[in-house]
Amino acid sequence: MSVLHYDNNEIRLRDDQSVLDSLLDAGHAVPHSCKAGVCQTCMMQADDGPIPAIAQAGLKPTQVAAGYFLACRCYPKHTMHIRSVDQSQGQYTATVLDKRWLNATVLRLRLSCPDMTFHAGQYLTLWKDAEHGRSYSIASLPEDPYIELHLKIYDAGRVSGWAARTLETGDTVQLQGPLGTCFYTPDQPRQTLLLAGVGTGLAPLYGIVRDALAQGHTGHIHLFTASNDPAGLYYLDELTALADAYTNVQITAVVQSLIGNPPSAINDLVVGDLNQVLQKHYPDTKGCRIYLCGSTQRVKNLQRQCFLGGANMSDIYCDLFG
């Protein structure tokens, strides 16, 4: 007979009872609907314990990697420690290692936080104080000696303004996370990866590209980094270096206009709208894995466009900046 550990409770499971039914019988209000493994409302997360494969069927590779599973289809043979998905964030104290402006409005923070485990592309909350925090996507890899964030700084921004003006190297900050399923998994190493982001949307995408390369991805990797104008771009040297070092990496910078700005360092600079540029380069997205990062409006339009171009819904990963 297996035992379930949930929310400081120990629940005994009968062999013929799913995790969902066991929790419901024990009086826990677990959201659910179809009880047939289709609607995914009963999604939970396992901290440990082997997860029966059928309980992860239909989930994205990133969800599988994060230990997510469907409670209505889970009949474990061993003890499991599980939690609701939205509780799965830790609180950490991190130290500021480095602050550096990447352009006029983007500040790079490098933080030391060795206890947090994460995937490049997930996001965390940076807390200014008990009430005010902002979410930022992780641009670095677990093997880097720091966690890297790219903060778009707004003068009147409560958290970004504080980070720009008050936060100093050596200070400690509170982090909460990680969350998000927009990260690389090595299950299809020859798949074409398309990545498109606006402004600091580059942060998670930069991490995902480096992660893919570190895990031996051989398929074509094409990153589109976009901004209104060249002044909003950043990391162009770093991106060019990646393209130079890896034959399967291609970088395209996209700007709406060149007005008022000198030509930038990158070779492939295109003037136009990101969605149209992506459509022109990849009218057929069948078989591609796609990572999108930016405002909700932008990402949703790109998602729709890429889906209609032939990509599987399950192969399109969205990181929404709101």
Binding site: C34, A36, G37, V38, T296, K300, M313
Partner: protein
């Protein structure tokens, strides 16, 4: 005795059909206003649940669920249900499903017509 769902290929068949079906309805001007949603992942899950049901697969939808689920859709009428079943048929044909099975699936879809239209 194999069920229709098993004969079609079960969940794998549904997964293959969902993206194709969803693309078709998004491009069909007769009905895409009902399917064009910001939450595409959520919509895809609903498509999956619908296809599972019409493939004769496991589901717990009652007539009441179908009524409640469609009540808020303004102006919904028979032409829209017809268009959905038409796109369903085209999806199945693309996947090489036999005509008699397509008919059986269309019949299941038709069986919930009155619930969907709340009449």
């Amino acid at each position: 005795m194999t069920t229709l769902y098993e004969k079609l290929g079960g969940e794998a068949a549904v997964d293959a059909a969902v993206d194709i079906f969803y693309r078709k309805v998004l491009l069909d001007d007769r009905i895409n206003q009902y399917f064009d949603s910001v939450d595409m992942d959520g919509q895809a899950k609903k498509q999956k649940a619908f296809l599972t049901m019409v493939f004769g697969g496991p589901n717990n939808y009652t007539g009441k669920d179908m009524r409640e689920g469609h009540k808020h859709l303004k102006g919904l009428n028979d032409t829209h249900v017809d268009a959905v079943i038409e796109n369903l048929g085209a999806t199945l044909k693309e996947l090489g499903v036999a005509d008699e099975d397509i008919q059986q699936i269309a019949d299941i879809a038709n069986s919930v017509r009155d619930d969907v239209l709340n009449r």
